[in-house]
């Protein structure tokens, strides 16, 4: 099935889009948000930024390089400072400086990883904090200059959403479109290195260049977001929408689209809420909304989410309760060499917990156990037969798992509770049985 012929996915997309669009009238009617010039600008900027970082973040998250954004974002600081020294306060040049410095930081990270035995986490830490320290020194040099004005570091860390103007949003839109275009151009290659790096390398793709390309795009996206959200919050914005989107789908294409939508949602809602009252900063609110989306996703997402998983677990538990109890009763009789010896309910509850009652009732209905008096049970003839078969199957499974490769048996992915006779061909089972007999012979000898 192609990714775009998935009805459920388009349903989620439509729902997210609806929430996204419906939020604007909702906020103005219910929350009394006033869509003045600044708020419009900030909202559009936040949404665009969410889209770009959501798309890029999918790759970073899937490649388990989420924190590369953190490194890059901190490494950009000296670039900002030097650009300020040379070119003054022009935003484009600050962006260029930041991008170059972030890029050099990534290069240094790769150099450390290639030439030393320092692992990724420490290498990131070293690069991050070395460059940041250098940047702080340069900034404090600038601040003590008489003509410094206010090149405050807090603007870099937290962003300055209120100061954003139309040109900045245009810049985000243009550069963001450029990033998406490049991603589309190299889609196949990037997808390949994301899922099977070695395969890509062996097949002659220029993996190092592709790595650098992706890192560069991340640098540019983060630098774009500095003005609106600041360093650390850009890191969150890169990761959160993608993690949320990952819960809903197993397709890269679907994940990217959802991630962009979630990013846009977080950007819009965060920006609008921050405008409701004084002292609510935009960047942090965007992150809090994005984190909320993540929590909702890991709770409610179908087939992966927490609720779904616990529901499935309960269903499985009930399904296997009967089988487990039957086995318990059988083993009890086995250990007492008397299958007619009654088993007390309390004992079974002690073994299996609360599912024991339900299991016993099922078994009684199927006619595998008999109730002797209120609190004890005994196996029926059919029950004994069934339990013996199951026990045998279990032992065969164990042997199968231990000696599968040695006996050259096919690899089957099957739950233990299945009857092995339904899964493996008779000739394979014969091999297993032969081995089991040999085993017991060996042990007795």
């Amino acid at each position: 099935m192609m990714w775009y012929s998935d009805r459920r996915f388009w349903g989620i997309v439509a729902f997210t889009l609806f929430l996204n669009i419906a939020f604007i009238p909702f906020s103005s009617w219910v929350l009394n948000a006033e869509y003045q010039y600044t708020l419009r600008i900030v909202t559009v900027g936040g949404a665009l930024l969410g889209i770009v970082s959501g798309i890029l973040g999918s790759f970073a998250v899937l490649r388990q390089q989420s924190l590369i954004g953190d490194t890059v974002a901190h490494a950009a600081l000296p670039g900002v400072a030097i650009a300020f020294l040379i070119a003054g306060r022009a935003l484009e040049w600050l962006l260029v400086g930041a991008a170059i410095a972030g890029w050099v930081g990534v290069w240094m990270l790769n150099a450390i990883l290639r030439t030393t035995r320092i692992k990724q986490d420490a290498a990131m830490g070293v690069v991050l904090v070395s460059w940041f320290g250098f940047g702080v020194a340069l900034l404090s040099y600038i601040q003590r200059r008489p003509d410094a004005g206010q090149a405050g570091i807090d603007k870099f860390i937290f962003g300055q959403a209120a100061a954003i103007v139309r040109q900045d949003v245009n810049l985000i839109a243009i550069v963001g479109a450029f990033i998406v275009l490049i991603l589309l151009l190299f889609w196949k290659e990037l997808k390949l290195i994301t899922f099977d790096y070695e395969f890509a390398a062996v097949n002659g793709f220029r993996v190092r260049i592709l790595d650098t390309l992706l890192a560069t795009l991340i640098v540019i996206a983060i630098v774009l977001g500095l003005q609106l959200a600041g360093v650390i919050l850009m890191v969150g914005l890169l990761i959160a929408p993608s993690v949320a989107a990952r819960q809903w789908t197993n397709h890269l294409e679907q994940m990217t689209i959802l991630s962009a939508l979630f990013g846009a949602f977080a950007g819009t809602v965060g920006a609008v809420i921050s405008a409701l009252d004084v002292g609510l900063p935009t960047g942090p609110l965007i992150i809090v909304v994005a984190f909320g989306v993540v929590l909702l996703s890991i709770t409610f997402a179908p087939s992966r989410g927490v609720i779904w998983a616990s529901w499935q677990q309960r269903r499985d538990r009930r399904r296997f309760a009967a089988q487990n109890i039957l086995q318990d009763v059988y083993r009890y009789g086995q250990s007492h060499h008397d299958f007619q010896k009654p088993v007390e309910t309390a004992f079974l509850i002690g073994l299996r917990g609360r599912t024991a009652q339900a299991g016993l009732h099922q078994l009684e209905k199927q006619g595998f156990v008999k109730r002797l008096d209120d609190a004890s049970w005994v196996l029926t003839h059919e029950g004994l037969q069934k339990a013996q078969n199951f026990e045998e199957s279990q032992q065969l499974w164990e042997t199968y798992h231990l000696y599968r490769e040695a006996l050259d048996l096919p690899d089957v992915q099957q739950e233990h509770h299945a009857n092995i006779h339904d899964v493996l061909a008779p000739e394979f089972i014969q091999r297993l049985e032969r081995l089991q007999k040999g085993d017991t012979n060996d042990q007795s000898a």
Binding site: H74, K119, G133, D147, I153, I157, I239, L280, P281
Partner: protein
């Protein structure tokens, strides 16, 4: 309690020195205080950072130091708004509250990771921006109440540590009460009807009231402060109280350092085991996770203690860079635990000079700026006077780069040299082997002539000549006419080498 401890240290010090000397050493010398505190932070950080590095959790310090901000804000709001007490950076409540926030980040990360839906790195990258964002929102929301300077949060100012002191009075410590009949009381006249009738004191209509200007009870430190403002408290010939001023950060960081050191010494064996083989440690009945959380709790405490000195981000450097540099220099854990603090202390004590433009006493940044001013123009502002903590971090990076390049075993230079040596050795053995294979054969004249060797070995003429020169100087080959011959010792060497190779 902390004050009692300080008092005890001061009493001990007074056996060997005078109060003035102690004051000159710390409170009046920002430089000494900054170096000492920097060294204490560096030691604390390096001891803990080593184990985090080995467990591949170095970036956790970054996350912790960010979410410590949330802990600080929440504790601050609790102290000032709920308990209605004055806020102090060195309050133990703050230490514990923020440390809990740090450990909370790790719990949140673990929880997200344990759900099985999120990878470790993404979980970390989600958890700390979120907690950080909440911290920032709280700061902005209560901006009127929170006197937290955001720049200081990020950078810290270690140079100011010497001015935040506890004063310890040593002599003449009785509080002084001045009553109106005290001979020291000074009488001041105040115009009574000036404000009401809009008169000036010189106006003849002004009426005056006599009152006592300096009456009241003064603690010794208040008395000294009042005197410094020109209000007479003591008689001229009366003895003033003597004080020792003790920077608060020294005590706090010293305690934290001792705590970390004793933790590492006490649990050295367990830490070593869990750092290298957590699975084995847990099979042997240790509790690696419990140990890890204690470690992270100490990391958080250290980060908070260092917070107002070096700031939230730069403190990460003290945890990561020195252990990383030490990791390049040695393979032994105890050596790492020695080298990392030494690097840290070296970087902090030289970093303070770098902040004023002196790099290890050999290079002046101001000169560089002057030169740059001539070339690109810096507006004539060539004085390099920057954040001390950032300079300390820069020195650490410098140490790391030196270790990276020059480490005897793992450095770039050592690797280059080793590669070059192996290259040469390989070429020599190839040539010797070629000669050996073709000696006493008919094709020898063709195969082993100086002129044909480049073709057969696919080397340049120049390379062949160089290697022949090397081998001749060791008398492994000789040249007869154009023919290159293996000598006896050369043959022996080759066979020995091959034998060794087989044994490997």
């Amino acid at each position: 309690m902390i004050k009692a401890l300080e008092r005890f240290i001061i009493e001990v010090l007074l056996w060997v020195t005078t109060p003035d000397d102690i004051n000159a050493l710390w409170a009046q010398s920002p430089r000494n205080t900054a170096i000492l505190i920097g060294a204490l932070i560096a030691t604390s950080g390096a001891l803990l950072g080593t184990f985090l590095l080995l467990r591949r959790m170095a970036l956790v310090t970054d996350a912790i130091s960010h979410s410590v901000l949330l802990g600080i804000v929440v504790t601050f709001l609790l102290i000032t708004l709920v308990l209605d007490r004055e806020f102090d950076y060195s309050s133990p409540l703050l230490l514990i509250g923020s440390a809990l926030a740090g450990v909370g980040t790790v719990f949140l990360t673990e929880w997200l990771f344990q759900s099985g839906l999120i990878k470790q790195d993404a979980a970390l990258g989600l958890a700390f921006p979120f907690l950080f964002a909440i911290g920032v929102i709280l700061i902005s929301r209560y901006a009127d109440n929170v006197h937290l300077d955001i720049d200081a949060v990020y950078v810290g100012e270690i140079g100011l540590a010497s001015s935040n002191t506890n004063s310890h009075c040593l002599t003449n410590c009785e509080p002084i009460t001045i009553t109106p009949d005290d001979p020291r009381a000074i009488t001041v006249r105040r115009c009574m009807n000036c404000a009401a009738e809009n008169l000036y004191p010189r106006d003849p209509r002004a009426e005056f009231e006599e009152f006592c200007g300096n009456c009241g009870t003064y603690t010794p430190s208040e008395a000294v402060r009042a005197e410094a403002q020109g209000i007479p408290i003591y008689d001229d010939n009366e003895e003033r109280p003597t004080f020792v001023y003790w920077p608060k950060s020294i005590t706090i960081m010293g305690l934290i350092m001792l705590l970390n050191l004793s933790f590492v010494l006490l649990f050295y064996k367990e830490l070593q085991l869990t750092a290298f083989d957590a699975a084995l440690a847990s099979t042997l009945g240790f509790r690696p996770n419990l140990l890890l959380y204690v470690l992270l709790f100490l990391v958080s405490i250290t980060a908070v203690g260092a917070f107002d000195a070096v700031g939230a981000v730069l403190v990460v450097a003290f945890f990561i860079i020195p252990p990383a540099a030490a990791y390049l220099l040695t393979d032994r854990l105890y050596q790492m635990l020695l080298i990392a603090p030494i690097i840290g202390v070296f970087a902090t004590s030289t970093g303070i000079d770098l902040a004023r433009g002196q790099f290890l006493g050999v290079f002046s940044v101001n000169r560089l700026l002057e030169a740059l001013d001539d070339i690109v123009g810096l507006g004539g502002y060539t004085e390099w006077n920057v954040s001390i903590s950032a300079s300390m971090v820069m020195m650490m990076s410098f140490c790391f780069i030196v270790a990276w390049i020059a480490s005897p075993r793992y450095g770039l230079l050592a690797t280059l040299i080793r590669r070059w040596y192996q290259h040469r050795q390989f070429a020599e053995q190839l040539l010797l082997g070629h000669l050996y294979n073709h000696q006493h054969m008919e094709s020898m004249a063709d195969e082993c002539s100086i002129n044909t060797l480049p073709m057969h070995l696919n080397w340049s003429q120049h390379q062949v000549e160089r290697i022949i020169r090397n081998l001749r100087s060791r008398h492994w080959i000789e040249i007869r006419g154009e023919q290159v011959m293996l000598t006896d010792s050369g043959e022996q060497h080759l066979l020995l080498f091959r034998q060794q190779l087989m044994q490997k």
